[in-house]
Symmetry: C2
Subunit: 101 residues, 2 copies
Amino acid sequence: MMDAGRIRHTVAFALSHDRGSDEERDFLAAAEQLAAIPGVEAFELLAEVSPKNAFRFGISMEFADQDAYESYNAHPDHVRFVEERWLPEVADFLEIDYATR
Amino acid sequence: MMDAGRIRHTVAFALSHDRGSDEERDFLAAAEQLAAIPGVEAFELLAEVSPKNAFRFGISMEFADQDAYESYNAHPDHVRFVEERWLPEVADFLEIDYATR
């Protein structure tokens, strides 16, 4: 169980690239680099495997608190990834963020 | 990072009950009991806190493999919870399942 105040930021997504393509591999390799941004903990790049939705991948990461989450969002490496890779290459996505109750 | 073959089953949801109501508390207490079903690991009942979707809670659990997941789905306690609590009391939900890539 997460500690109080922590946030688990997740995003399920599908790419516009063909399954198993070089473009897909290149995008996923770039996404892995988000793990190096300060404040990112417990980073996971996952396969989405439920037949009940059309997403094919997921990213999960944790932040110690809301400030760490906001610093990540504003970090130049994150902003650049969103502009240069996420927006042009992601076909659909949903962000879901969890905290303790 | 999860071990290969494991499945992290998650569901984000919103209830038809008023926020902070007795009905909400009673539903969440019943949902907590899913943790006792054989095969369920790393059970978490969470708050959904992203302003980018309308879900308000989440459940996350892990299974050692697909067989454990299917046994959970078919377990009488799970089937009863879905029929008696989930279907009548959940207003919206999305299941997202993750595995290693």
